[in-house]
Symmetry: C2
Subunit: 239 residues, 2 copies
């Protein structure tokens, strides 16, 4: 990593959401350093790329996916972020041991200085992901949102804030379809909402509310001759 | 300005909204430089202060107000912001002429490098504001949102995005009360919504919707003895 290629003091972290087996999951990294060594997927911003392209690059490097739904949700700009953290010295030590020639004092000081962090959340299809470790990842892992370990710095707060933002936007930005196959039943959609909000929804009210949004297209049932008990399939109009 | 006190390549701009005479207004600066010399109120972030404190400081310097409702709404992080702009060279020239000793090559290069900009919007009570020019302001002015001139860089886009965010959050974050006196009539509230959204609302529907939010408290009318035709007064419960 050539620090002069990157904007100093500015980083990004991605809260990467995926959905499988009726559970909302988040992708986290177990890094090679320290004890509490879980973290979100983050990176720096090249001087020659936009903030959005930097987030897409960070995700593509770890998931292989080129087109991912990405949304900024907040800047974490406390003056004590990282420089006031115990994790900082652990990281300094670890980087020097890892490769003392590349991670000399100048580089390590740059990496453990104050960073203002831009938070993004991403929604992606777990089945299409091919995980690939970044240089500092021991391994990457999908965790259910109710089973996320303690992470470094303020990463748990970043995750919680990203989850709150996802919930806030699930209706209005019509982003649920990024987590569903092209066609789905009303029960599938309800299961997704229940996973995201971590609470049950009443079936009748849920169906009424979803239909009132005006974004679902109901597909014709194929007439099979027999009494047709299969549920209706829907798809998003904008898809 | 001592550039070493600030985080490089990171700035903030505030879309400062006020409300008076049934019109939504935004506070802009006519700066001392160049031709298209209107801009939003912006500044840099000290290495020792949080991003939020920096925004509050920038506002306090120009309005005298200490406690202002401030909300981050987006980061503007295009790789060509400022460094790809014609305004950049105008600013370079003007700064050198303005004070060649203070604005030497190093300082001017720092100020006209790429900047990632954090957008905030602010809501404040126009009547409490005492405007005070910053060093580069020729003067500050309140403009109705339908009469904002062309501004430098991407400041018109920042304004539009901030306005969209204000509209999106007007119900859910209950921020309207920052723009109203403590007690108000339903017509006052409707006039505010009409100013923010720049469109009329139907009276009956509007009242129904506002009451359904469950955040308004209706005050008792004083019994005057005469037939009481004065409209009800309301206030926000959370206030």
């Amino acid at each position: 990593m050539q620090i002069e290629e990157y904007i100093p003091n500015l980083s990004l972290d991605c809260v990467v959401f995926g959905y499988s087996e009726r559970s909302l999951k988040v992708l986290i990294s177990r890094n090679k350093f320290g004890k509490k060594n879980w973290e979100l997927l983050g990176g720096y911003i090249r001087k020659t790329e936009s903030v959005e392209k930097a987030a897409a690059r960070v995700l593509q490097e770890r998931t292989g996916l080129k087109k991912v739904y990405l949304e900024q949700f907040r800047v974490f700009g406390n003056e004590n972020r990282i420089i006031g953290s115990r994790n900082k010295n652990v990281l300094k030590e670890a980087l020097r041991k890892y490769d003392p020639r590349r991670f000399n004092k100048e580089v390590v000081d740059w990496m453990t200085d104050r960073f203002v962090c831009i938070g993004f959340y991403a929604l992606l299809d777990i089945n299409r992901v091919v995980l690939k470790n970044g240089e500092f990842d021991e391994y990457l892992e999908w965790r259910s949102i109710d089973a996320v370990p303690e992470m470094i710095y303020d990463h748990n707060e970043i995750l919680e804030t990203g989850l709150a933002s996802l919930r806030e936007h699930l209706d209005s930005k019509l982003i649920a379809f990024n987590l569903l196959p092209e066609t789905f039943t009303m029960r599938d959609l309800q299961a997704l909402y229940e996973a995201v909000y971590e609470r049950p929804f009443a079936m009748n009210n849920f169906q009424k509310k979803m239909l009132s949004l005006g974004v679902l297209e109901r597909l014709e049932k194929k007439y099979t001759g027999a009494q047709n008990k299969a549920p209706y399939l829907y798809r998003f109009k904008g898809r």
